[in-house]
């Protein structure tokens, strides 16, 4: 390397950094505000199509974010980072995993000690469960999730099924 390659920095050629930093900070703030960390809970699956699906808007009266239960095509439940495999050939293991899911649901529901706020007077939960299941998942697994939600110790009766808007020929 020859020393002559280095161009000596000229004193006066200094960029004014201030506007760039302003813009950059604005960008940071924009991304911080728009980021929705709850979408991280969704595992990529192929959702079923349904024409009657309603737009998935957040309920303004919501107290805590709904619980998202993912179900893959192979029959694996992913809930709050925990995995519960339902595809075992042994009904005993399948049952263990459903009991574990129930425990996890109960724990999450009791988190923060705000239990009384999250329940109707009759004990039913106000928090919905979003079943985010692959179209090819076996229906019985979905039914087991529904049964787990309706467990007398959990009492979640509000369910949302994640669906996709069907593709149409006319592009609507």
């Amino acid at each position: 390397m020859a020393a002559t390659d280095v161009i000596p920095p000229s004193e006066d050629a200094k960029l004014n950094m201030t506007p760039m930093i302003d813009i950059t900070f604005l960008l940071v703030v924009f991304f911080m505000l728009t980021i929705d960390l709850s979408t991280k809970e969704y595992i990529p699956v192929e959702l079923p199509y349904a024409t009657e699906g309603v737009e998935d808007k957040e309920d303004p009266n919501t107290i805590v974010p709904r619980f998202i239960v993912n179900l893959t095509r192979e029959g694996k439940i992913i809930f709050r980072g925990q995995e519960f495999d339902l595809a075992s050939a042994d009904p005993g293991i399948q049952d263990d995993n459903i009991q574990a899911l129930k425990t996890a649901l109960r724990q999450v529901h009791n988190e923060g000690g705000g239990t009384a706020l999250l329940r109707e007077p009759d004990g039913a939960s106000k928090v919905p469960v979003m079943i985010h299941a692959d179209w090819g998942a076996k229906w019985k697994y979905v039914q087991w999730i529904m049964q787990a939600c309706a467990d007398p110790q959990i009492k979640i009766y509000k369910l949302h099924f994640a669906v996709k808007k069907p593709p149409t020929e006319d592009g609507n």
């Binding site: 930093i21 079923p48 199509y49 349904a50 309603v54 299941a133 076996k138």
Partner: protein, 193 residues
């Protein structure tokens, strides 16, 4: 002893590390920005009062439309398909093994699927019309008798549910798969270790 401090020419902050960090933050937020994967949902309410009772009862003047779904050839993933039976009618519908829009389905397959769903819908609509046409007086029932019913893909059941919803029948009951173990079996299992 007096120390002579070197004279500060320009008291300027070195911006470079800060800009580095800020850019990293931008990159982090950009990468974690995930566009919404779901835009639609079907809302449903599990029955509070009757819980998971095996056979829910309906008022007598209500019409009950029962749609049974089975998976045929369920052990063979290449040949498996869903069979749909409405009430006890002799006509059955077999939905193509794969699902519209997925798995690179051919256009005629998708058309076949849609056609069968439309046929089921018109039969259900006909039954509703014969009963007076008020969807509030019709209850839908989706029966998936184990073990073959349990293997039906979730998407097929959602399509059948969608038929009921399209016709305005909001009271739909699911019937089918019991949990993998009965309470007695579960207790026996945990007692045995």
């Amino acid at each position: 002893m007096a120390v002579k401090l070197p004279e500060v020419e320009e008291s300027e902050l070195n911006m470079t590390p800060m800009i580095d960090i800020v850019f990293q933050l931008i990159i982090f937020f950009l990468l974690s920005l995930k566009f919404k994967t779901i835009d639609r949902r079907i809302e449903s309410m599990l029955p509070k009062d009757r819980g998971l009772a095996p056979t829910p009862s309906f008022p007598e003047d209500f019409l009950k439309v029962k749609i049974k779904v089975f998976r045929r050839d369920m052990d063979d993933t290449e040949k498996a398909y869903t069979l749909v039976k409405i009430d006890n009618d002799s006509t059955t519908f077999s939905l193509p093994m794969n699902w519209k829009g997925h798995e690179k389905e051919t256009a005629d397959r998708v058309a076949e699927y849609d056609g069968k769903i439309a046929a089921i819908r018109s039969i259900v609509a006909g039954k509703m019309k014969a009963h007076g046409g008020n969807p509030e007086e019709v209850k839908g029932e989706i029966v998936a008798p184990p073990p073959k019913g349990g293997a039906v893909p979730h998407g097929d059941v959602v399509q059948v549910l969608n038929i009921f919803l399209e016709l305005g029948m909001l009271d739909v009951v699911f019937e089918g798969a019991a949990s993998p173990l009965t309470t007695t079996e579960r207790n026996a299992r945990s007692a045995g270790g």
